[in-house]
């Protein structure tokens, strides 16, 4: 296939530094074309990818498992990289889940007989015909979209910058990332599909990765009794003494909250935090 350099670059975009790389694959071309472009890219940059992990961003579509396996095979055979995960945008993933659930429900309603012999990862239509739910086996949902995590565009999607204080009773909810140039007061609730950065004091309720991304983080310049949630994990801060508004010993320390071992972990954000985490505090 005659593919010149500029086209290849357009089909596969590379983002990241060091051993942490994101491949963003154009979501407007067939998988075969994308794989071809990926192959050429890897062949040209052989010594660039000797080892490390890669996140493949498949954009605004949900790829079938055989296609994902193809991409994985290309990457892992032609470079030292390991494919860590596939990502697509949360709303697309949710739509797809909903679509499949609806189809299954329609099937159940029609009392159509279902067999259990489907191989995981067949094409979408086949799988819908043959998979069933509730028998202990993985559902069509899990087979089809289980290998994909939401948040593909997390670093690229336009976020929201809020200038000012978020007051009690105020609710902010965005799909992308959220930056607040002010305080989040007690009684306020801020929520984002991606990360939350508070350039002020966080004293209210913050929910990062609200669409299910447990790798999201919350960073705040200082905190007092924050109520933190990341994806499905929650943390309540009720260990510190009651707040009289006086500066406590660690009120003015910047903190980062991430999910670790199944719970939200709060740690001081030191100046070389990013350095200690391979240049990117958001990746784990």
């Amino acid at each position: 296939m005659p593919t010149n350099v500029t086209e290849t670059q357009a089909l596969v975009q590379v983002a990241g530094r060091g051993t942490r790389v994101n491949f963003k694959i154009d979501d407007g071309v067939p998988v075969d074309t994308a794989c071809q472009a990926l192959l050429e890219h890897l062949n040209r940059n052989k010594n660039l990818y000797s080892s490390g992990e890669v996140v493949v961003d498949i954009g605004r579509r949900v790829l079938r498992e055989d296609h994902r396996a193809e991409i994985r095979q290309v990457i892992e055979s032609k470079s030292g990289l390991t494919v860590k995960q596939f990502r697509c945008e949360p709303d697309i993933l949710e739509q797809e889940r909903q679509r499949i659930t609806d189809l299954l429900e329609a099937q159940h309603a029609a009392h159509r007989p279902v067999s259990n012999g489907a191989a995981p990862g067949g094409n979408v239509e086949d799988a819908e015909e043959t998979q069933s739910v509730g028998d202990g086996r993985p559902t069509v949902n899990e087979v089809l979209v289980g290998g994909i995590v939401p948040g593909g565009e997390r670093y690229g999607s336009p976020g929201l910058i809020v200038r000012g204080t978020c007051r009690a009773g105020e609710v902010i909810d965005v799909a992308g990332n959220l930056v607040i140039l002010g305080n989040v007061n007690p009684g306020a609730q801020v929520s984002a599909g991606g990360d939350i950065l508070v350039f002020g004091e966080l004293r209210g309720h913050a929910h990062a990765g609200a669409s299910g991304d447990a790798t999201a983080t919350i960073i705040a310049m200082s905190t007092t009794h924050p109520r933190l949630r990341i994806a499905g994990y929650a943390r309540r801060d009720d260990e510190s003494p009651p707040n009289f508004g006086h500066r406590g010993p660690d009120r003015d320390i910047a903190v980062i909250a991430r999910v670790r071992n199944g719970s939200v972990h709060l740690a001081p954000y030191r100046k070389n935090y990013a350095l200690d985490h391979g240049g990117n505090p958001h990746e784990r």
Binding site: R167, A168, H246
Partner: protein, 274 residues
């Protein structure tokens, strides 16, 4: 003449909205402004009692908006200050019997005749609150240095910014300098930092407010009262004077025995414990 409407609000009850309304109103009138104070706390009216005008009410706010009387008939002239008038709330009705639109209409007409229209807002953020803030261009948010009052003030400031009110200023009421010094009460800067608004007055806690309320004579008429003096300064700031805002200090001991004790280095509080 075209005056402006200022709403006095707080969210939480019992922080001193009505006291602030009566005192700021009286102090503005003492500076030879024409002032109308409107009590919108329908069903739980207090402002008439605080101003000592309870026995003079013939017509009230609901009578005006329902057209039972003219505005002039419902305006009750104050006993003390010159050009200070009250429109009392109805005691027998509830908040839903007037609408924001009706109050806007009333306040626009009052603005033609008065320099300041001060609206005393009910506690809460329901219909009564929405009515009261709808007519105002500016707001005075009253809070005390307690977390519960500050939380409610924060909510109210958010709602004010989402409304037609252009400017909100904070009155921190009932500050006890002694408790602040001991670290048992938030100081004004902590409150202002949380609420991120400008203060217009820091009012010390003052027992004279209680007697003044019971007598129906606002505390601004008592020159020895520290809270009354601060309300006078608040009125001056509203009127455009530039008076620096200073946190209240502890009152010096006044009685002869206190002075003697002070000389001997015995604190009043410690001696009370002995």
């Amino acid at each position: 003449m075209s005056g402006k409407t200022i709403v006095v609000t707080s969210g939480k009850g019992g922080v001193g909205k009505t006291t602030a309304t009566a005192n700021v109103g009286a102090a503005l009138a003492l500076r030879s402004n024409r002032v109308a104070v409107v009590d919108t706390d329908i069903g739980l009216r207090n402002l008439d009692v605080v101003m000592g005008l309870e026995n003079r009410i013939v017509y009230d706010l609901v009578d005006v908006v329902e057209g039972h009387c003219r505005i002039e008939q419902a305006l009750i002239k104050d006993k003390h200050a010159g050009e200070l008038y009250l429109i009392a709330a109805a005691q027998t009705r509830d908040k839903d019997c007037i609408t924001g639109k009706q109050l806007i209409g009333l306040c626009r007409r009052l603005e033609d005749d008065f320099d300041y229209v001060i609206v005393d807002c009910p506690a809460g953020i329901e219909q009564g609150f929405k009515n009261a803030i709808s007519a105002a261009q500016e707001a005075l948010v009253v809070t005390t240095p307690e977390v519960s009052a500050i939380r409610d003030a924060d909510r109210v400031i958010g709602l004010l910014y989402a409304s037609s009110v252009r400017e909100a200023k904070l009155i921190i009421n009932r500050i006890k300098p002694e408790m602040v010094r001991q670290g048992n009460m938030m100081d004004a800067s902590d409150v202002l930092e949380t609420l991120a608004v400008d203060a217009i007055g820091l009012v010390p806690s003052d027992d004279r407010v209680i007697t003044a309320t019971n007598n129906g004579t606002p505390v601004v008429y008592d020159p020895t009262s520290p809270s009354g003096r601060e309300f006078v300064r608040i009125a001056a700031r509203i009127d455009g004077d530039h008076i620096p805002i200073i946190a209240p200090v502890e009152e010096p001991p006044t009685s002869l025995m206190d002075k003697v004790r002070n000389l001997m280095g015995i604190n009043r509080r410690t001696s009370a414990h002995v």
